[in-house]
Symmetry: C2
Subunit: 454 residues, 2 copies
């Protein structure tokens, strides 16, 4: 039922396209959906893509275009004139997709394309949408929607619906507005179908409607739709007029991108890149945190160098440097990840910051006692060159580092969030690096004290 692109399929298609065998090409793509065809074009080179594209119907071509990878689409559109873009694509698109597409073009070409749009209403819808920032409700919404007046009766409403729905592809909800276009509520198609003709909309509509303001950030739109299980949400302007609607399929991408961004930040990737991005983009996204790690390593080397003399006398102190550093990093990443997810899901609860730190301390104490206890047993029974000083040093240092790293990993993202910095920045390399340095400092300091005792 679903399509899985293979190298074999691609070769077959390219061959059919090259030999201009229309029957073969159409047979191959007949069962495919626009997104499947976009997958194919993403894998073709530009020449193959241009040769293949002419086999698509106009409506198909427009649907495929919006599903393409951004860089592929950019190259493709460069090969077309402004008039072709307007006539072949924009005319066949919903206003939100058309606006997204135009926003990607250079300013000059964008204006040229707009001047070629024939449907004046669509052109003005698109210009409206282009005014909203991309990452807000306004930037996500489509203008196409179905609305009726609160004072109409059912018969008038259904007739009006018949007219309006010719232009709207999917009708999920019918919006109810007053004479000034202020959103009053919603009514389901089903309800309209089931109610006798003479009734008034006013008596049967649902006034408990969740809406979002046009300037709400896209992540927050996602949170609202997710929390209230909405499939579509109406968008209102500053004074409450209905201006558009956002469907869940656009929001699923936002929700997913948000989760992936946190994951990437935690993995030390500073820009939103994909595996398939080129060398330069990947390097640019990966190098910054590596440089942070490098600086951290240099600081650590300075901390250790102050104990140079001690290392010459007690070289076994060096053995456990990686263990202490790694454990501090691991614990810090764990607790910061949980806090970041809790902040994103608003599931941290109503407790104050100190009760959170206290809880983290208890978790650290439990994990720390288990780990340092096991390490103690290992050091007591296994290695030859190990003495009491180093044995107790590593176990005490490990316990302290685990507790400290947990507290640090909890506090930092909460503080960043409080000061409106993305807390996900704190996970990954930043926490790891800081805990490395502090852990090593603590380890050598405890060693310094205990070697004097034993």
């Amino acid at each position: 039922m679903q399509f899985e692109l293979t190298k074999q399929f691609l070769d077959e298609l390219n061959l059919a396209v090259e030999s201009k065998n229309e029957t073969a090409v159409l047979a191959l793509i007949e069962p495919l959906r626009p997104v499947d065809i976009a997958e194919i074009i993403n894998e073709q080179d530009l020449e193959e893509a241009i040769a293949f594209y002419v086999f698509l119907s106009e409506e198909q071509a427009a649907d495929v275009l919006i599903e393409l990878d951004e860089d592929v689409r950019e190259r493709f559109l460069k090969s077309l004139s402004s008039e072709q873009i307007a006539k072949q694509f924009i005319d066949n698109m919903d206003s939100d997709d058309a606006a997204d597409l135009l926003a990607e073009l250079p300013v000059e070409k964008k204006n040229e394309v707009i001047s070629h749009i024939e449907d004046i209403e669509q052109a003005s819808d698109i210009i409206d949408l282009l005014n909203y920032p991309e990452d807000t409700a306004g930037g996500l919404m489509a203008k196409e929607l179905v609305k009726i007046n609160i004072d109409w009766d059912i018969k008038t409403s259904i007739n009006e619906l018949r007219r309006q729905t010719q232009e709207v592809e999917n009708v999920y909800t019918v919006y109810v507005v007053d004479d000034r276009d202020m959103l009053q509520g919603i009514i389901s198609l089903k309800r309209l179908l089931l109610t006798p003709d003479k009734n008034k909309v006013r008596d049967i509509y649902n006034d408990k409607v969740i809406s979002v303001k046009v300037d709400l950030k896209d992540e927050e739109v996602g949170q609202v739709m997710e929390k209230y299980d909405l499939v579509v949400v109406p968008v209102i302007d500053e004074i409450g007029r209905l201006v558009g609607r956002i469907t869940i399929d656009d929001i699923v991408d936002v929700i997913k991108e948000e989760a992936e961004k946190d994951y990437q930040l935690a993995s030390g990737i500073s820009e939103n890149v994909e595996y398939s991005d080129n060398l330069w983009l990947q390097t640019r996204a990966r190098l910054p945190w590596l440089l942070v790690g490098l600086m951290g390593g240099i600081v650590s080397s300075n901390v250790i160098s102050t104990y140079e003399g001690a290392i010459q006398i007690h070289p076994e102190m060096a053995f456990f440097i990686p263990l202490i550093a790694a454990m501090g990093g691991n614990v810090g990443v764990q607790s910061s990840a949980l806090v970041v997810q809790g902040l994103a899901n608003k599931s941290l609860g109503l407790d104050g910051i100190w009760s959170k730190v206290f809880k983290e301390m208890l978790i650290g104490l439990t994990n720390g006692l288990v780990c340092s206890g096991l390490l103690l047993l290992y050091n007591m029974f296994f290695p030859d060159q190990i003495n009491w000083a180093i044995t107790s040093t590593v176990s005490i240092a490990l316990l302290s580092v685990i507790i400290f790293a947990g507290i640090f990993g909890t506090l930092i993202p909460i503080l960043l969030h409080k000061y409106k910095v993305d807390p996900a920045l704190a996970t990954g390399p930043f926490i790891t690096t800081t805990n490395d340095i502090f852990g090593i400092f603590l380890y050598f300091y405890i060693g310094h004290l205990l070697y004097a005792v034993f």
Copy 2:
């Protein structure tokens, strides 16, 4: 418009509930949605919750119950008899929610509750659903749907719809089936509304319908709905009969959980926990990877201990242990995260495994040359006690470790995926630990060689 729970609101509500002030309680919750009320109950203790619950209408209570946190719901249901659960909740729920709820109960209580369900059809729907594993399309779907026969005319269809829609809350799509209940296609409500009464369904329905098999894994259902931008997807059995439908709101949770699970695994958390989970659950989820890290640290200590003599003579070798270990870990986490996301999004492209490794090698070479070059400059100009041997050792080791860690971080998740193991397991502590050990080994080995030269 949206509700934000505050401590003040909670206190006010608890006070009103305690003093049995119905007017005040109802005024407070009047603007709220079920999920908002569930948020309140999640924060109340059991006694407060039980006292508050009686103020809700039956339908409200059922909607709230399915939105509660699992542990809160469990405690709450324990306080009710099987008959209460059946009459007050199950009767007011959709089949999928009812089945999810029952699946959480102990077997004996579950059977008791089922025996108290009055609507025989609902009881049999629920029993059907309980037979499907929770993480498959069958476990996610609801039985409530609207379907018409392909041989009917529009008038018959609309009459039949009027009858069926009384039981179905949201109608997104009307399914078209044949006499044997085999799924043939879909038709939109809008299309039905716009078509004259005498036409046949057969002539106007859309036969390009995407459906999922009842045993498809929930993540894959999510991938299908996401890829094809579906709001609802029909579920068919082995021979193609329509058995249910899944709406996107249930799938958003699956998509999000999947992304969060990868993130948690990358952060060294082995079970799906939330920040608000108790000490025991959190420790259980966090300890396993810490023990892996501990073991890795012990192995590292053994590697270093073989160079004990060298460290006594050249203690500066110890200075850069954390740097080498940290950088190997960071690079490995970066590249494995990108591969894991690429696998999840199916965006790795059609290239073979060796071209991926080659690309990663180039990225490693670029990042490695920058980092080791900077380290070389630092060591040449800044520290006092540094000689040529150690300067060249750390830079060469760092370059090698970065290239190796990148390749390792790319290969491991691809191989795990190939052998059907969740590749996300490879990110985080596993990669970090392995790269730590190998990096340190490489560092000391290179040092051993270079000190002989200089």
